[in-house]
Amino acid sequence: MEFWLFLQLLINGIIAGSLYALLGISFTAIFAPTRIFHFMHASVYVFAGYFLYQFAMGWGWPVPVSILVAVLLAGFMGVLAERVIYAPLRRMGAGSMEMLLSSFGGYVILQNLILLIWKSDPRTVKIPEVLKNGIPVGLLTFTPLDILTVITAGAALWAVTLFMRHTKVGKAMRAVENDPLGATITGIPTEWVRLVSFFLGSVLVAVAVTFHVVDKGLEPTIGVNAVLVATVAMIVGGVGSYSGAALAGLMIGIAENLGIWQIPSEWKNTITFCVLVLFILFRPRGFFGHRMTRYEG
């Protein structure tokens, strides 16, 4: 019996980890090229969820359309953040501290806008029940939605990797990440690249919140935890490495679920963060991180 429980928890962990992987990838897409700790990512995450809710449940649009529009809107929110908050600061010569603080300010504003518009009640978005009904496999169960989550995360990783390696924009992003000054000198439109990276990261995080919302509901508070996990996944995986972030996300999901088996579930978060702190102290490179170049902090 214990073995089956272990297996089920492992499966649960992989499913949860897939979502975390998505989060990690989304955050890396922004942090790696721009080096901005985009705390407002949490707001984009939650807002995308509320957009989805508003379209699908508030205005009765078909769910796939709602998801598409919500994801696109989220992408634009990310771009807006760069244009309105970060770019002007950068032009003023502000340092990363000012960027981070402004990001917090933006987060607080957006968070409270949500409270004013939608209040704090939990919301749900309805999708066809069949997606959520468990498929029993012996003593184990998982749902079609779970399978979809894992597939989507895998597809996202695959797509992002291809994008980075084979498209002009992707390569430009990597160039900017590696050596921003050099990139500007060689004529790469760095500002434009930044916008793309914000768009990409925000779109990915919106996909992540979609899975969260249809399964676990929507509340204003889910943003911070998402950013926390995204940060841990990115650092542990190694800044700049998408496969690292994905792998780290997966491992965090598995560790959390297996951990609950023996450790009281309240300590779940603490484990994740101790791992983060340990990595920061002893291996800031993470799993696959690129060696720190002159562009640290």
Binding site: R35, F37, I85, P88, L89, M92, A94, S96, M97, E98, L100, L101, S102, F104, G105, G106, Y107, V108, I109, Q111, N112, L113, L115, L116, K119, V224, L228, T231, V232, I235, P264, E266, W267, N269, T270, F273, C274, L276, V277, I280, L281, P284, M292, E296, G297
Partner: protein, 293 residues
Amino acid sequence: MIYLSYVISLIAVYGVLTISLNLSVGYTGILSLAQAAFMGIGAYSAAILLTQWGFNFFTTLLVGMAVAGLVSWGLAWATLRLKGDYYVIASFGFQVILYNIFLNWIGLTRGPFGIRQIPPPEIFGFSFLGPQRYALFTLGILALCLWVARRVGESPYGKVLRAIREDEAAAASIGKNVNRYKMSIFTVTAMLASVGGALYASLITYIDPFTFTIHESIFILALVIIGGSGNVYGSVIGAAVLISLPEMLRFFDVPTAVASPIREILYGALMIIFLRLRPKGLLPERITSGVVR
């Protein structure tokens, strides 16, 4: 009058918290997200020792400061040598870990059930029971903090801090042990934060872990920015404005459901605006001989 005294006390508490963070963020340029954690250490030290062991309030202050000091010294030693963003992320992680300890170590902190009926401070049999007395008490502590901060700021030690903020490499090149300075000021920040926490505990008479979250850290950070990094009087004024705002709105019959988010949106917006247009905040840094910002 009772209610007014309560608001004044709250302003004084946040004044202390803001001043303490200003020492690190404003004077020295160390961005810490862990202020709420240290506030919590002070609050829980006071709450636990006062309610369960009948300690004297001032003793609990010392205990809280000692714990906060030790912990912050350790944290600073481990992380201040990290580059820029990594230090901030580490303080973020530390904040979350400490929050989880407050929340889950039920044997010590009673976790989400909170600690109730925390008594007010007493000295030589005189109790600060009652809102007016407590307001005077907190104002007194605030004045003390202001004085300490000013002395630090105007001393040669303070000048080195500012030098570190402007250009660490340059400060190191003239022989200053940058890490030592950073660690020491960070420890002072943490200890003062714990004082603020203890005052908070006695004021509200009830604490639970949900106060000491990253959200609170961000709020105190905003107060520093808005009041003016490097200016501790500004910190007090910033605290006064932002704390009293929802209370005032409440009297104009704005429901709390609306007043609270409005206050938050305001400080978020102010934070962004001040960083852009008026990086010096409400009150600019005092010009003392030789150091111009």
